[in-house]
Subunit: 1007 residues, 2 copies
């Protein structure tokens, strides 16, 4: 059969299919119902749709009438005070004029939404589910059942998930007796060979510590809990399919599937399936790889081929992390990939059964016709549809193909809402086949068009991106490390070995373009093993500082006069070099300051961002700005560098913060004396090398590490230092500011201090917070890099109404985290940076013990294969409850893994407590109340406020970073006002009128 013949048949088949469905619509689009009306409204009003879906998501958390009432008002009646009519539809009430009087309307809406949710779920308990399944089977549909659940954030939860699955299987085992086999002769199987019990599982439910960075650990973690489930499946003669979730988990999930399928214990049993997603740009590789593997292993299996349900998520994640978008962005490309890969599976039907999971009539028709063309036996493919959706399609399928399995979620409504939202999205998306088929009345022909053709047309119709033209491209953040890529995962161990080989060198100062060796050197050690010396660094004293200042002053006139474009080029070059060595630079931090892989990589990426962003900012600010438009006068507003800058940097972001402050000072035309922290001065020296390589001239950048006690005041108080850029502790920062306000003899300028200091940051958990997210974000904020960030969360303020649901999950999750050396990718927490920090945090923990009740106190797991904690600077991960603002641990900066839990009586008090410290750096609020989020945006007084996400990890340009109050002077690194601090504005006014005659400028405003 040639292509066009097949195509003709597909369209023919599709037409017949449509005719068979004629007049029927899925219940969700039935406008006689409340649901249909609301869907209709959502499709016409994007803003309403967003509000509705968000409200639906929040609904299960609204446990009191007051809360329900308030949220409905905030979501839907904020502007006019009136509910939109559509929401009141079906609530009999000329009397209820839309005002939210009493609870009548409110309850009606909530009931309606619950009913909507229930439409997609076979039951809330096993009994209800079995009843529904039985009814479905009576109607001729097979099932696969899936347990809805919250995200698994801790190992206690993972254990519970395992038990839930086993319990369900037990219930199904009992129920199976009632299930009559479908369409087949064999009493044990449906359709001549398919087990009646079919379970779909999500790998992520079985392991709380699964993440791409730790591939092997993740695979093992999941395998260990999935194996018992599969064992039970085999015992009861069922089938299991491993669902596919987001791309993050794809490789891990495929690997888990392979290990299960090929394990000696299981390889005899063919009823294991996996899901692959055709919206992934590399789905062809996924399918081909898996088919080849199955064939080479001789292990028959089922592949459920789907389009993919995480499109928004994948795009957003990729765009936010600067990665290539992994999914097709033209819907028809996904459809085309589906047909292509369905064919590939059908061609290998002997080893690989196809479960075609799509509601798209074209797709279904294509699979049918390809199977017929290829002569695939009927039992080697089946069709699947989602329970509660696309009822006409499933009916049509049943009559035509006979083999239809419904995907049946089961479980409580709370986690069910997430599922509901995803289903609503599918129904209302502009590109949804269902919407187009049943709500929009798109022409049948267009719905049946070959997707290759549609894709070609739509690609051609897309607007061409305007070329940004010659010159510098717009700023984009450096991509995050993409650990879904094996190459990235493998790059780290290689770099660790390479960097370790370079350990032990002595690093000189760099002054006036020359290396300078001093007698005084300081060792920098690996905090995970203090006996390992990363390198030794020469220490500057007052004499070296004087020499460096002299060199800087000498270099200043030429550097100041260097055109902005040339200074900028040095930064872009530094970015290029850093990018080319990103793994080495990251690994040096892993080993010198104990930073986890991802965060070390992010630190280097941030350094690159600073180079790229400040370069562009300087191009913007370096252009003269004409003020006024009157003729006869030209006013040029310009900036000049301040002169000699002292950059005093911390160890916790050893490259990024140093690179940011230095490059800001340099690109604005200042000459720099750079003093890194003694704890990270090998990284500091690498930055110096970077600048030299990038072409910064001699004397312009000087590397002067040294002991603060020996040269700190000398540097800050020097009459020739014009600017001090400092990031570090409050104590040192205040001392610098006071010194800088003194005018030394001979000083001819006022010193400018750019300072970022401490934080005592809080995350607020509102009573309607989404806890899956909140738990993970709070943990990351509090314990990422051992809490050694000025932005780290050290207080979590929990609304009392949700306290008992949130805190146990938080503690379970924290208890599940692996603690150990940062070079081990499985560890999410490591040692503190040095023995001094260790001692001081231990003392802080003693205070915490005295002031509150310890909920968790965890050191690294020792024993065989574990960590010898005494080698490194470990302190226990500590969570303490019973803390109020009066306590010291609610007020003082911890700079370690110590989290105070505070129970607030309401949101107002939470905000008040959050604001009760003298710091104002970062904060986060987890809430689904629009009013509370706005209240926080207004009243939660911090430099960086995060709504519904973690409070660390600000990105250059997107989240300009810095605080106020005692946290700093609001300088906002990586933001549009930052470079201004390194310069002084001046205005050159020229009277251009001579002899009564003024040249006519094009921007003069003459008359």
């Amino acid at each position: 059969m040639n292509t066009s013949e097949l195509e003709t048949r597909i369209i023919e088949r599709g037409r017949t299919f449509f005719e068979a469905m004629n007049g029927e619509a899925p219940s969700v689009f039935d406008k006689g119902w409340w649901t249909g009306k609301v869907m209709d409204w959502s499709m016409r009003d994007e803003d309403f749709k967003v509000k509705l879906f968000r409200f639906v998501d929040a609904l299960p958390a609204l446990t009191t009438n007051e809360s329900l009432n308030r949220h409905i008002r905030e979501y839907f009646a904020a502007d006019s005070g009136e509910l939109p009519p559509v929401l009141r539809a079906g609530l009999k009430s000329a009397s209820v004029v839309g005002r939210l009087r009493g609870n009548f309307v409110v309850k009606g809406i909530s009931k309606n939404i619950e009913r909507l949710a229930r439409q997609f779920i076979v039951g809330e308990d096993a009994k209800e589910a079995v009843k529904t399944l039985q009814r479905l089977r009576k109607d001729g549909f097979a099932f696969t059942i899936d347990i809805l659940g919250e995200a698994t954030v801790g190992e206690t939860e993972a254990e519970a998930r395992l038990q839930e699955h086993l319990d369900l299987l037990a219930a199904l085992e009992v129920a199976r007796r009632k299930f009559k086999p479908l369409g087949g002769s064999n009493g044990e199987f449906d359709w001549g060979g398919e087990p009646i019990i079919n379970l779909s599982v999500k790998a992520s439910a079985f392991c709380s510590q699964s993440f791409p960075r730790d591939f092997e650990g993740s695979v093992r973690g999941i395998y260990n809990r999935l194996a018992p489930v599969y064992r039970r499946i085999i015992e009861i003669g069922g089938a299991m399919c491993i669902d596919m979730e987001s791309l993050d988990q794809r490789d891990i999930t495929i690997e888990v599937f392979k290990r299960l399928r090929s394990h000696d214990e299981f390889r005899h049993y063919p009823h294991l399936g996996i899901v692959l997603q055709s919206y992934l740009r590399d789905v062809d590789d996924d399918v081909a790889g898996l088919v080849d593997w199955l064939r080479s292993e001789g292990l028959p299996s089922t592949i459920r081929l789907v389009k993919g349900a995480y499109w928004d998520h994948e795009v957003v994640r990729a765009r936010q992390q600067g990665l290539a978008v992994p999914v097709y962005t033209v819907k028809a490309e996904t459809d085309a990939a589906y047909e292509r890969n369905a064919r590939r599976i059908l061609e290998n039907a002997d080893i690989c059964r196809l479960a075609c999971a799509s509601h798209n009539v074209r797709t279904i028709a294509a699979v049918m016709e390809m199977a017929r063309e290829l002569g695939v036996p009927e039992e080697r493919y089946e069709f699947q549809a989602l329970y509660g959706m696309a009822e006409p399609v499933r009916k049509g399928l049943l009559s035509v193909a006979g083999r239809v399995r419904l995907y049946c979620p089961y479980g409580e409504l709370v986690p069910g809402m997430a599922y509901l939202v995803r289903r609503l999205l599918e129904n209302t998306s502009n590109e949804s086949f269902l919407r187009r088929s049943f709500a929009d009345e798109t022409e049948t022909d267009s719905l049946l068009e070959n997707p290759e053709e549609t894709a070609r047309r739509e690609r051609a119709a897309r607007p061409v991106r305007p070329d940004s033209g010659p010159g510098v491209a717009p700023f984009v953040n450096e991509p995050a490390a993409d650990f879904t890529q094996a190459a990235v995962r493998h790059a780290f161990p290689k770099a660790i070995a390479r960097i370790r080989r370079e350990f032990g060198a002595t690093h000189p100062l760099f002054i006036g373009g020359e290396n300078v060796v001093t007698g005084d050197v300081l060792d920098s050690y690996n905090p995970a093993d203090v006996s390992e010396i990363v390198g030794s660094v020469c220490q500057a004293g007052p004499a070296e500082i004087d020499a460096a200042i002299a060199a800087a002053e000498e270099a200043l006139p030429a550097w100041r006069a260097t055109p902005v474009a040339e200074r900028t080029k040095c930064l872009f070059e530094a970015a290029r070099i850093a990018r080319s060595r990103i793994f080495d630079l990251a690994v040096l931090q892993v080993l010198e300051v104990g930073k986890q892989w991802d965060q070390a990589h992010a630190d280097v990426a941030e350094a690159i961002d600073f180079f790229e962003y400040y370069g562009r900012e300087m191009l913007r600010l370096g252009a003269d700005r004409r003020m006024g438009r009157v003729p006869g006068e030209v006013n040029r507003y310009r900036y000049r560098p301040r002169g000699v800058a002292a950059v005093i940097a911390p160890w916790n972001f050893p490259l990024a913060i140093s690179a940011g402050m230095c490059s800001a000072a340099l690109v604005t035309g200042n000459c720099v004396l750079y003093k890194p922290s003694g704890l990270s001065s090998v990284t500091g020296r690498v930055l110096a090398d970077l600048f030299v390589e990038a072409g910064i001239p001699a004397g312009v950048f000087n590397f002067v590490p040294g002991r603060s006690s020996v040269m700190g005041d000398h540097l800050v108080g020097h009459p020739s230092v014009n600017l001090i850029a400092f990031t570090g502790s409050e104590r040192v920062g205040l001392h610098i500011m006071q010194m800088a306000a003194q005018v030394a003899p001979g000083q001819r300028h006022l010193k400018r201090v750019v300072a970022e200091m401490g934080g005592k940051n809080a995350c607020i958990i509102d009573d309607d917070a989404e806890l899956d997210e909140a738990v993970r974000h709070v943990l990351y904020s509090a314990f990422g890099y051992q809490g050694q960030k000025c932005s780290a969360c050290s207080r979590v303020i929990v609304h009392e109404a949700i306290y008992d649901r949130f805190v146990p999950r938080l503690v379970d999750a924290a208890r599940s985290m692996r603690i150990g050396p940062a070079e081990d990718p499985a560890c999410v927490m490591g040692p503190l940076v040095d023995r001094v920090a260790q001692q001081s945090v231990l003392e802080f923990i003693d205070v915490a013990r005295a002031e509150g009740s310890v909920l968790l106190s965890r050191m690294p797991d020792g024993g065989p294969g574990g960590v010898d904690a005494s080698q490194g600077c470990y302190v226990p991960l500590t969570i303490v409850e019973g803390i109020t603002p009066e306590h010291r641990i609610a007020q003082e900066e911890a700079f370690g893994p110590v989290l105070a839990v505070m129970k607030a009586k309401d949101f107002d008090q939470a905000i008040e407590w959050a604001n009760s410290t003298r710091f104002a750096l970062t904060g986060a609020v987890f809430s689904r109340s629009p009013a509370h989020l706005e209240q926080a945006a207004r009243d939660f007084a911090v430099g960086n406020l995060y709504l519904n996400r973690n409070c660390t990890g600000a990105l250059v340009e997107r989240q300009p970073f810095g605080g106020f109050a005692m946290s700093g002077i609001g300088s906002k690194a990586g933001g549009p006002d930052y470079l201004l601090q390194f310069m002084e504005p001046y205005v050159v006014t020229e009277n251009t009128m001579r002899r009564g005659f003024a040249p006519i400028g094009s921007d003069d405003d003459w008359v």
Copy 2:
């Protein structure tokens, strides 16, 4: 005759005229000549034209080959290193390939330009002039002779001008014997009644102290020197015409004419004329008024009607000062006004003879035909043309009308260049009739079109200004006081009387919305008469400061939450109120701090500007800025107020600086404690009233004047004060900064200091400076408001090559200034602000006397009608030479009328000396070297650098003001970065993804 009949005749006459000129071109357009080529090039290349005219202007000052060579290179060969071919035209040289080797080309160019200049001048000395005049008369042309001269900046120069005129008249008296009368029977007169000797005079040449503010003083000053000239004219039977210059001098000039014409001594003699300009929008009033006056007085005279030669100047001045443009902006409107007013004069030919001075054939034809229509006798009108221009026109005129007088400038080439530039402009302007007639070959019909018609068409063709739409109009500066308007001149004395009646009141504090009276009060007196008490002001102590801070803290949350648009409205309302009382507010300063009328008015206007500008700035900054464009994340960059602001203001700009700092703090959402200077606290209280009236809520703005010694540290050191905005002395500023760097117990934020402090500003006079301008601007910079400005010039650094030309003129000019109370509009300098300032400046003058040689030391003139200096806080206006950077008076701020003159060996040294102080506030450079101006813009390290103008009087938005080094922290009041200091940036980042679903924002960058 009806209109169309006249129109037909005019066009007929014009055609005949054109035919008569057929083939002839004015020599300046003759392309066979170097001049013609250069004119041609200038008309095609605007940039070249600007350079050429500027070079021409500078040429006489280039006295050495080196200088000439350098300027030619800078002007013409800066880009390519090659001279444009046109400049080399006529310099026989295939060998000289345009490179500036040797002086051959350079000298050739300079010679060519000199020749060009000479073309417009009848002679450089009397002998040469008489010879030319004789030749012209032989050809049938009468003359009026005009002495070219530099601007008259001092009374010595005015005396010299008088003498030059008398000398010229003596020479002409002698020469007259050789002059045969033209076209008439009478041996004494031309054309039956016109004296042969005709002198044109410029009123401004006869008085250095003529300015509109002092109308009566200006009229008398001019009259007193013009009367002797006119007396001589009468003695020798000549005629005199008073030229009209810029609008500034118009009313004064007309008044001088009237007084001369009607004085008993002169009213018998009819040969006095005046010039009126038809480009002025109110020329109809000028002509009608004068004709009526002549008729009512019965005094026949001549009116020379011209188009006007200061168009650029008038437009630029008006636009720069925010005034209505006083001239027609469509050229044909001027032509139409000319015909209209020529007709009016011709209709009154019996009392008023018309001198028609135009090269425009249409204009000439119209005058001829109107005269014929009205039956005006030939001897009652004549035609005039400029010597050296429009030769075909003058020839045509001679043949047709017979009565042609040439306007003949005479004098040295140096001042002649100004005249040359004006003539070149006339020749090359796009709208020049000459250019259109002779260079452009415009159709005759179009040239002869009725100008009313042309104007109608051109007005219709003008692009309509885009409407700025609803919302707030773009910022424009408040207009300067326009003393050319009698109403403005009269408003001041009236306001002085009114304000004086209110003297002596006691003014309370204003705290938390209530007036607060204290026991301690301080008197504010009139510095010109210390016995006159302007008012008594209550003084705040620590208790009142505490109360005000409490009030501010209480008011803060509501004010911070007030929408930006509402806060902004208060500022706009304050602007409206201040504008409605501008004279009262100005006069209060005249009397309380001794500020001259114009400067007091400018101070109020600046206050209004601050209100209007900061309001608009806050609207700009108050809008959320979205950072990043990735989906699933919204980052809002915002600003929040710092909290409680202490505004500590100086007395020298008692309203403007206070209003600026307070309104910046208020509009950004801070609450304010305002402490004015004790010397200007009555003005301070008026500002408080203004804010209250404008709707600033209680507690948001608090008026707390007080003694620094009693409450200064208490205010600055208070733990609740977040921000200190200070303008004042270096000593106090540094003290504040040091105090603010300390953290008081209980303080929960870092204090921000916005400080503007001292200056020791220099004006540099380069060897090619235009001295007319330089002298005036330096004087204004140094002695305006007695030098009591941080921006005042206290050092003038003079290139040694020009020292002997500049310094005597400067001293002469300074000696000519009137010193006395600011309320007398004739005085340009007054008393210092108080006895303390007087004592300290007297001591500074003692230092000056010891360190240098006093060139001038002037107290107010005493005696009858003079000033009793002992009543006020006067110090002598002092100019000292022989100063080098080592001297104290070259380093310390004077804040009084003391000017140090420093002789520099070259421009580099001048810049070096200018930079040799620890201050960096303002500076000025007078130079016509493009390279030196660029060098200064790069290397003259001050916050506000002015090229070829005074170094004071920065305007809001156009010249954002403020310095660096020890002059301040570069905050630039009235500029785009100013408000940032009063706020703290913060970022609200919202994770908008929920359940894998992110709303699609229009500015998201999805794929």
